[in-house]
């Protein structure tokens, strides 16, 4: 009994001694002091801690700062202990590097705000300059370029001397130039060379760096910098034209996608279908349902969710389209006003139905990884989602065109629209063709919904925002002509995007509407008017 007690006492004593051994240096070293500041939950203390840890040269600095960035750094406010949870789930004490079994119950993640996030990025930039991964080295050089922190200069110089990769070398040189440009004791020659390097980079960040230069630089440097700014600006001016053209193409592809189904139902069949937008919305909701199923059942398939959603959206919207044609529209052929009112009423019914089923709030439709992000082409940024939508739209257009041209159904459709009575006499079941044509137009609207769910809100009002634009495109392009719709959509898109920077989004839109009205006055049948007897039919 007493021996047992003595043993336990000895164990406790040993534990205390051990803790003391660790605790004493933990309180003494500047690194440990700095780490403890993370536990204060005070933004300026965290700021100081980041700076001190990053420059400490301690091997734990990198894990600590990168954990801080990812929200994996936690602290116990009572004991002032700070812990790093590794990406693999292992936990270590940040001050000592000793492994810890589990986090204390009251440990909370160290909070960041934007100022601190910038400090973290700059610190990480300095710490990853020597990373073995070239992509990481470039990213590190970029963040040094942005922060132009003088402390990173020796590391950059060392790294630059050793670097063999060309792209990384260029990035290092730019980062070095940025530091020298802002370093107060750099020589005039160094600064002039720095301006030249930054001028060669020529993008908006280079411009930001040069324009941000204070007035305390040698007059020579200021003069050269001013001329560099002017040259970058005129370059960027040219690029902005290219950028506008790209944005115009992208907007045009969205307009085309939304309008192409309408070009069939309104353009070819002559039905004023106000519920067209709701078909787009149904397509978007189909995407949402597909993604929900994938998220809960097969999370690995998420990147393919859109590919699965496209045929489904076509079928769902197409089936509803056939139902609408059979149930309502076929009784109203030749009575445009009634069709307009009936389909408008229908659009409200569909909206409210979706609202009741899915709720009034927006539904989250995620971007697959291959549709997120952007790449730089020269000085413009091209986002992947817009690029894919443009390709997708063109593919849909080509397939539709081929279908009308080469398939039996396409032939029948053209026959019925050109001369209904003649087609009927030749044995074509015209009412069946009507239903299928309407279904096709609606189905394509459904496909459009899949694409639009990637760039717009999936809400019951999704369709409403596209219906006016769609009619505008079809009427402008010329009723009954798919090529007209294509040219019309891209013309409107590009015109809109060139007007927008000048006139603003609101005025730009108004200007486009006015232009179309004037154009329709001059050419009532649109850009590509159908000629011949089909027009009279």
């Amino acid at each position: 009994m007493s021996a047992n007690f003595l043993d336990r006492f000895r164990a406790v004593l040993l534990a205390i001694l051990l803790a003391a051994c660790f605790a004493v240096p933990a309180l003494a070293g500047p690194f440990e002091d700095a780490v403890a500041k993370f536990a204060n939950d005070d933004f300026s203390d965290t700021d100081e801690a980041i700076g001190a840890v990053a420059t400490s040269g301690n091997p734990l600095a990198f894990p600590i700062i990168s954990a801080l960035q990812d929200g994996r750094l936690s602290a116990d406010p009572d004991t002032k202990q700070v812990f790093v949870t590794g990406a693999d789930g292992k936990i270590i004490d940040a001050a000592t590097g000793a492994a810890v079994d589990k986090l204390p119950d009251n440990a909370a993640a160290v909070r960041l705000n934007n100022r601190l996030r910038r400090a973290v990025e700059a610190a990480l930039g300095g710490l990853t300059l020597l990373s073995p991964d070239p992509a990481k080295r470039i990213a590190a050089a970029q963040s040094v370029f942005k922060s132009h922190d003088e402390n990173a200069l020796p590391v950059i110089d060392g790294a630059l001397a050793k670097e063999t990769n060309k792209a990384v070398k260029a990035a290092f040189a730019e980062a070095r130039a940025a530091i020298l440009l802002y370093k107060s004791d750099a020589t005039e020659l160094e600064k002039l060379e720095a301006v030249a390097v930054i001028k060669a980079r020529g993008d908006q960040e280079a411009l930001a760096l040069l324009t941000g230069l204070g007035s305390d630089v040698p007059p020579n440097v200021a003069r050269i910098a001013a001329s560099a700014i002017a040259s970058i600006q005129s370059d960027l001016q040219m690029w902005s034209m290219v950028q506008n053209a790209w944005y115009g193409l992208s907007l045009g592809s969205v307009l085309l996608l939304a309008a192409i189904g309408l070009a069939i139902t309104f353009g070819v069949m002559g039905v004023i279908n106000m519920a067209h937008g709701e078909m787009v919305m149904i397509g978007a909701y189909t995407t949402f349902v597909v993604q929900e199923v994938i998220r809960t059942r097969y999370p690995d398939l998420f990147d393919y969710s859109l590919l699965i959603a496209v045929p489904l959206a076509f079928l769902v919207a197409g089936a509803i389209g056939v139902l609408i044609e059979r149930g309502i529209i076929r009784f109203l052929y030749g009575r445009p006003l009634e069709t307009l009112l009936a389909t408008w009423g229908l659009s409200l019914v569909l909206q409210q139905a979706v609202r009741t089923m899915f709720g009034p709030t927006n539904r989250e439709v995620g971007n697959p990884s291959w549709m997120s992000g952007a790449f730089e082409l020269g000085q413009i940024t091209i986002t992947y989602n817009r690029l894919w939508i443009l390709c997708f739209t063109l593919a849909v257009f080509v397939i539709l065109l081929a279908m009308l041209r080469y398939t039996a159904l396409g032939l029948e459709m053209r026959a019925v629209t050109q001369n209904r009575r003649m087609a009927a006499s030749m044995g074509i079941a015209t009412s069946r063709v009507d239903a299928l044509t309407f279904g096709l137009g609606s189905g394509i609207a459904g496909i459009a919904g899949v694409a639009l769910s990637q760039i717009d809100n999936v809400s019951p009002n999704l369709g409403q925002s596209y219906i006016i634009d769609s009619f505008m495109v079809v009427v402008f392009g010329g009723v009954g002509n798919l090529w007209g719709t294509l040219v019309g959509a891209f013309t409107l898109g590009i015109a809109n995007k060139f007007l927008e920077p000048v006139a603003g989004a609101v005025l730009g839109k108004i200007a486009i509407l006015v232009l179309i009205i004037l154009f329709i006055q001059k050419r009532p049948r649109g850009l590509f008017a159908l000629k011949g007897r089909a027009v009279e039919a």
Binding site: N113, R117, R118, T211, N244, P360, T361, S372, T381, K497
Partner: protein
């Protein structure tokens, strides 16, 4: 699929029949009960369909929840409260019709409702003419103080100005993009902000103002412009009064074009927990919002409220937001005022309301002011990856709402005072009621 659908419809309608009959029986019972025991009727004027349904439906549920809670405590003055819900369908003239219906036909004692400023302006004449009370729970552009309206949302000096102050001091922002949807709230707010920024020495060329139509979805040009504007070597921030729906594609475009909150932070006045529920918030990390309430704020009142609300809606993920808190405060104030004067007579309640205090959910006590606005704390929150906000800054105390902005030429001498001066636009220079706002 189709047969399943028709079957669903058939069962649905059968269920509806049952529900309808049950409802009728219950209604009759309630009616006969009501004869025996009089109720106090509370009108709820929020859109349940149309564009604004996305935001307003939650507020309807909030009032129903509050009435339910109050009735559990025994109602008001021993009488049960009864909600009368109407649907103005995001249709501004219909708001006025429905308001008239609530006051004259249903004889409600008070109305909680409206979201957009235009809907509020459309019901104003009705409330004046029929002398009833409206509690308006949404942050708005100010420049108004009406006898029949109590504004429980933020005035510009309780949201926009503190947010700009924060950016100026903490983020050292020197260049400003004021981006908004093209209607009265963003236009007035931006006018106030522009005047305020200039008074702080910001030059005209460092302010970019941009308006977009409702539901704008193609943000490529504007985001590229913001990027360009931000590359002038001075710290830049975007102050966003972009409304509701258009925010999602705006933030998506920001994320896709690689603008991070550390480069150009966006501070939004109309984006809350409810709006973020529909988007992937990872690219938005660090962007800001200014409100008087966040769900993430730790206080005993807030935790209790969130728990009760999630239990009431039977949805453990249901979020809470700022306008909901405004209704909580407004409802509490109304109950206290009615109990104070022992009557629901509008004149008595209107006179009793100024000076009434009610606990807000963030641990303070808000007070109804003579200008019919309330005192509120202001918080700046950063968006976290889980769609909630992390409070990074707050005002030291509560801020009193200004009905008339001190920054605008036309309104800086005006005050609203329904206690002493009995006037909503009293000019302190000329000492006359009836000054002009701008």
């Amino acid at each position: 699929m189709l047969t399943k659908l028709t079957h669903d419809i058939a069962t649905l309608s059968r269920r509806h029949w049952l529900a309808a009959t049950a409802g009728l029986v219950l209604g009759l019972a309630a009616f006969s009960n009501a004869k025996a025991q009089e109720t106090i009727k509370v009108g709820v004027l929020h859109s349940l369909s149309g564009t604004m349904a996305i935001s307003e439906t939650t507020l309807k549920d909030t009032i129903l929840f509050l009435i339910d809670e109050q009735n559990k405590k025994g109602g008001v003055m021993g009488k049960k409260l009864e909600a009368v819900v109407v649907d103005p369908a995001s249709n501004w003239p219909l708001f006025a019709e429905k308001a008239r219906e609530l006051i004259t036909k249903d004889k409600v004692s008070v109305v909680f409702g409206c979201w957009t400023s235009v809907s509020r302006k459309s019901v104003l004449p009705v409330f004046k003419e029929l002398n009833s009370i409206l509690f308006y729970p949404v942050q708005y552009e100010g420049e108004e103080s009406e006898r029949n309206v109590f504004y429980t949302g933020a005035a510009p000096n309780q949201q926009a100005i503190p947010a700009v102050d924060y950016l100026m001091k903490d983020e050292k922002v020197k260049r400003w993009v004021l981006a908004g949807t093209d209607y009265v709230y963003p236009r007035t707010t931006n006018k106030i902000l522009e005047a305020y920024l200039k008074s702080k020495g910001v030059k005209q060329e460092d302010i970019m103002i941009n308006y977009t139509p409702f539901g704008h979805s193609d943000w490529q040009t504007i985001v590229a412009d913001i990027k360009k504007f931000g590359s002038a070597g001075k710290k830049t921030a975007v102050v966003s009064t972009i409304n509701g729906d258009a925010n999602v594609p705006f933030y998506k475009e920001l994320g896709n074009q690689g603008i991070k909150a550390t480069d150009i932070p966006v501070v939004a006045f109309s984006v809350g927990e409810e709006e973020l529920a529909g988007i992937d918030t990872k690219p938005l990390l660090g962007h800001l919002a200014a409100w008087n309430y966040f769900q993430s704020i730790k206080s005993p009142e807030n935790e209790k409220f969130i728990k009760a609300w999630q239990a009431y809606t039977k949805n453990p993920k249901r979020v809470t937001n700022d306008p909901m808190e405004a209704h909580v405060i407004g409802f509490d104030m109304w109950v206290k005022a009615v109990e104070k004067v022992k009557s629901t007579d509008p004149d008595k309640v209107i006179d009793a309301l100024p000076g009434i205090e009610a606990k807000n959910l963030t641990g303070g006590t808000s007070k109804m002011l003579p200008n019919h606005h309330i005192t509120k704390p202001v918080f700046i929150g950063e968006i976290k990856a889980n769609g909630q906000f992390d409070v990074v800054w707050k005002t030291p105390g509560l801020v009193a709402g200004d009905a008339w902005s001190k920054e605008l030429e036309g309104s800086k001498d005006l005050i609203g005072d329904w206690v002493g001066k009995k006037c909503g636009n009293y000019n302190t220079k000329t000492n006359k009621c009836g000054g002009q706002g701008s």
